[in-house]
Amino acid sequence: MAYLVRHYIFTITVLRRANRNIKPAALEDSTFEPTVTLLIPAHNEEKVIGRLLQRITELTYPKDKLQVIVINDASSDQTGAIADNYRNKYPYIELLNRDKSNGGKGKASAMNDGFSKSTGEIVLCFDADYYPQKDIVEKLVGEFIDPEVGAVQGRVVVLNEPQNIITRLVALERIGGYRVDQEARDNLGLMVQFGGTVGGFRSSLLKDLHGWDEAVLAEDTDLTFRIYLAGYRIPYNIDAECYEEAVDNWKAYRQQRYRWAKGHMQCFFKHSWNVLKSKNLNVKEKIDGLLMLNVYFIPILALFSMFIGLYLILLGSQLIDTLWFFIPISVYCSVGNFAPFFEVGVGVYLDGRKRAQWLIPLLIFTFFYNIPICLKAFCDVTASKIMRRKRNVWVKTVHSGSGNCYIAN
């Protein structure tokens, strides 16, 4: 119910603001141009890295204030060669090669290595499969005028949405998350989640926090909480759009969600108590933070509640018949696929889309698909807690470069 209420408040907030045409106060100061480092971790990304680097050369931010570090993380394909080609042509692009002995241990490890070589006052992160707007650096960096801002998050839009049914469903989830969830959190003064990419940090803060935690799979969520607990905030800039290549098959979807679920659960164990006793967070931030940390436990709880309901039906109680009716419906309305259908629908509406919402009923299948994924993640986290194992296996999302055809030349 807490999730239902939360998502309902999010949806109504964003809808009302859109109806009143309230736009966020512009943070425009043309003199504010700090030095910026772009970190691009890449592990076997030969099909997409060239597209991103080409786009980086087209960015409108002054190149003398830009440092681009491509972290070639033990790639066995042509990623290094492509990046090297760009390094030779453009002096602000640097290449950091990590060999197999110290590389390939996950994104957090690669980012820490890249960060140690960075010189910018602001550090922005982009995954290799992303395709940013030309003026995205200005939009993201502009938020750092406010000294209370520790990090910033931009909007993620799916590039290869028309490819197949999976990319279309992922696009709907992204719309729910970035058009409504993040926007509402920003408007309501709650905890905006740093998504690991299309965003950045104040370099000095990141140094104080000792960079990314390599023991956590959801290193982005972990940093979100560490930033808020340190007394800083993360604004969300919906105008700073970046296009991602979404997973296009069920196996990749499962692997990605498993990593997110396990990482979130690790963050739950790491930060829940800190959130509760923090003096830097107000009550509503604490509630929102705890709900965010718990979100991947919900499909498991839903599964158990459905089994209990089923068992009671078999006992033959008429009252349970009616109660049973509420359990699956409220579960679907509350979380759906971590964004209830009405939230996704309103997001699609606000984006001015006409037909994308027709697929919303199919999100119920991804919800069912997430139940075993979260259950497995929970079992693995519990087992590693009991056995005191800290090592994580990072399964990288494979990018096929299928998004290339959707970029207009």
Partner: protein, 133 residues
Amino acid sequence: MGRRLRRGQGKVKALNDLFIVLFGVVIILCFIVSFRLINIQSVIMLLIFNALFISLSFQLNGAFNVKLCLLASGNVIGFCWNFIFYSFATKGTLFFGKTFGILYTVFSPFLCSIWIVAFWSLSLTVLHREGTK
């Protein structure tokens, strides 16, 4: 000329009011008939649909009458959906026994959510707003 225009406007307003009353009656009838002919669960479903539709869709673009018409249509579709599945379940239980009834009870919330979500999603197309995407 002015009097004729005012008379025409008056007619349109009266027709509008008539439609509002008509749609309201349809919605109330759906509730009553669902309760009498089907079961309490179908009434719950209609309540969920109406609550969702009124609180969210009525804030979107589009004329009030169009939204009310969509709401009434949703109620009629919901009633028909519930009635068909309930009749199917009743006959199925007679032929195949109690197990069929239990299976129906288990799956009916998901079946109902299909029409609610599908109708709500389709109604967004009718009420869509111009955007940039």
